[in-house]
């Protein structure tokens, strides 16, 4: 695939915005940085580790109308809210962990029953990721098989160099973006410069969790592992607030609800979370996951067993958001370490 050098990110942003492309990127929001729509190149900030939100909301909106109905005594008229086209969008500055997370979401929403609301948005979106040169104590991407310069899920990957970016096209879509803006790009510098740029952060990232994701998967292989006494201890703090799921790039749970008024209603697909007690409540009153440790166990199993086995993609990309956001300090890596030990972590 093509490689190049980008001198000025600002000019790329300018060009995209001038062409009427919807551009989403890291933007300051009070004391934090979030992925948000950018109105001008000045809105972009390069000073962030992982934005507070994940980019999934631009493909899988928090709330989306999927159907409208109008009804009276004579009948019902339905209006499909699936559009033929979704706005051309570039998400610029996506972290490699998040890009990988989107690739995981792709698998959930594709398949035999293809969710075109997601897939059409995805098709209209180009992911331009930017490699990380810094991390914080909660990042653990390399332990989940990713890395600060992992191209998976990106269309184009930019790695910051002194004065510009090393650019690599990962997909055809990325190549097309390069070709379409040839004037903004120069010949690629040596690839060694790019590798050197991320060497520092690679050595800083947590290494103690290596292999734990796979060990946790093996641990969960045994159905009896679900009854392991450790779950109570590992999840007793959790308040069921759901914050961890909303910031997670791979959490995909949603609800389908009608918002109605006499004569007309809208059917919506809204984010939901397996951490809420009503999530699995049966009509009969029975609740298979009636207590919080059982719900937290489900989230963990979803990340480390269901995703890799059902969709053959990672369920956790190590972005660290669930750890940063949790009001009570619940830390998924503690469980990873504990359960991997329980599974008998391979030695050597």
């Amino acid at each position: 695939m093509k490689e190049a050098k980008l001198e000025s990110l600002e000019r790329l942003l300018e060009t995209l915005l001038a062409a009427g492309v919807r551009v989403v990127g890291p933007r300051r929001d009070g004391g934090r940085v979030v992925y948000a729509e950018l109105d001008s190149p000045a809105d972009y900030t390069a000073d962030y580790i992982a934005p507070a939100n994940s980019p999934k909301e631009f493909l899988f909106p928090k709330s989306e109308t999927i159907l409208e109905a109008a009804y009276d005594a004579a009948g019902v008229k339905l209006e499909d809210k699936l559009d033929d086209d979704y706005p051309a969008t570039v998400i610029l500055g996506v972290r490699p962990c998040d890009a990988r997370g989107l690739a995981s979401l792709d698998e959930v929403f594709a398949g035999e029953y293809a969710d075109e609301f997601y897939l059409r948005r995805r098709a209209a979106t180009t992911i331009v990721a930017v490699s990380c040169l810094r991390c914080d104590a909660d990042c653990f991407c390399t332990s989940t098989g990713g890395g600060p310069d992992d191209p998976a899920g990106s269309d184009l990957l930019l790695t910051p160099l002194k004065g510009g970016y090393f650019v690599e096209a990962v997909t055809e879509k990325g190549s097309a973006l390069l070709d379409g803006h040839a004037g903004l790009f120069d010949d690629a510098p040596q690839r060694a410069l790019r590798d050197r740029a991320v060497a520092g952060v690679k050595s800083e990232l947590r290494a103690d969790l290596a292999e734990t994701a796979e060990a946790a998967r093996r641990f969960l292989q045994n159905p009896a592992a679900y009854d392991d006494e450790r779950w109570e201890r590992l999840a007793y703090r959790c308040l069921s607030c759901g914050a961890c799921t909303f910031v997670c790039p791979t959490c995909h749970c949603y609800d389908i609800v009608d918002e109605g008024k006499a004569g007309a209603s809208r059917r919506k697909k809204n984010w939901d979370a397996c951490q809420f007690d009503h999530f699995t409540l049966h009509a009969s009153g029975h609740n298979p996951r009636s207590r919080q440790p059982l719900r937290w166990r489900n989230r963990f199993a979803c990340k480390f067993k269901i995703y890799p086995e059902r969709w053959e993609v990672p369920g956790c990309v190590g972005c660290g958001r669930c750890i940063r956001v949790c009001p009570v300090g619940q830390d998924i890596t503690e469980a990873l370490a504990a359960l991997a030990t329980a599974a008998g972590k391979p030695t050597g």
């Binding site: 809210k81 035999e112 749970c253 609800v257 059917r267 009509a283």
Partner: protein, 279 residues
């Protein structure tokens, strides 16, 4: 309607409403669009999502048999906003339907074997689809035993059919109600379903057992079958987990890593034994 929208329901017209118990009713439905009605097919055990527009969608099995063409039926208890909305529908009114979804009862594998059906409460709904299917293909199957119970006489569903089944000589029907649920003229058994089933000493040679009912009933039925050494591959149930999408995406219905909406809802006891305690 755009058929690329996996969430788009088809309109169905209510053609008949049958009250079953004070809070359970059965709706007979027919697709409004003739072409859809013609092309629609399903297998016994599958389910669908039923819409009351303005209220939302609810998941129920298709309670009728694919052998009875031209309509489908659903049986539901009025417990929340959507089911209350559906319960207000009268013949001629419209509802929405998506489906059929999920797997189905192994009627091919069951051919030539005896079939024992053990149901409780509204759990008879999916079993009734199967029973009607078996009766419509009666020559292909061996003995047919039905054990069905509810809390009280009032809580038994499909009373007209229960009477018809009782009159047939090609099946054996045992009805029971929980202690205290009987009326003075009750001629069935009194007792919980699992012990009543035990008394029948159903033969596990060449016999399938299909059960559905409240989770606690299923648990005791399974325990009893395990004690008697029934082959877990020949014991079948259908799970009624909470569902929203029915498509394997919304993340709500899973038991361990099995997604009931696409991998189920029909499971053998052997399959459930492999799943974690997440039921």
């Amino acid at each position: 309607m755009n058929t690329d929208n996996i969430y788009a329901p088809r309109l169905m017209r209510v053609i008949e409403v049958t009250p079953e118990t004070p809070d359970i009713q059965t709706c007979r439905l027919r697709f409004e669009d003739e072409a859809v009605a013609e092309s629609f097919s399903f297998a016994t055990g599958q389910f669908g999502l039923y819409s009351c527009f303005g209220e939302g969608e609810s998941t129920f099995c298709i309670a009728s048999s694919p052998t009875r063409e031209g309509y489908i039926e659903c049986t539901f208890r009025e417990v929340g906003r959507v089911t209350a909305g559906l319960a207000r529908k009268n013949p001629g009114d419209f509802i929405g339907f998506r489906g059929p979804y999920g797997n189905s009862f192994p009627v091919e594998a069951m051919r030539g074997a005896d079939v024992h059906i053990v149901g409780g409460g509204i759990g008879l709904a999916p079993l009734r689809s199967l029973i009607c299917y078996l009766l419509d293909n009666r020559a292909d199957y061996g003995e047919l035993n039905i054990v069905y119970g509810a809390r009280s006489v009032d809580d038994l569903v499909y009373k007209t059919e229960l009477e018809e089944w009782a009159d047939r000589d090609d099946l054996s029907l045992t009805l029971t109600v929980d202690p205290g649920g009987e009326t003075p003229d009750w001629r069935g058994s009194v007792g919980f379903v699992p012990p009543v089933m035990d008394e029948l000493k159903l033969s596990r040679d060449n016999g399938w057992l299909v059960t559905c009912g409240p989770p606690i009933m299923i648990r005791f039925v399974f325990e009893s079958l395990r004690r008697s050494g029934w082959d877990p591959e020949w014991v079948v149930t259908t799970l009624e987990n909470r569902m929203k999408c029915g498509l394997g995406k919304c993340g709500r219905c899973n038991v361990g890593d099995s997604y009931v909406c696409v991998d189920g809802p029909v499971y053998t006891m052997a399959q459930l034994d492999e799943l974690p305690n997440d039921l």
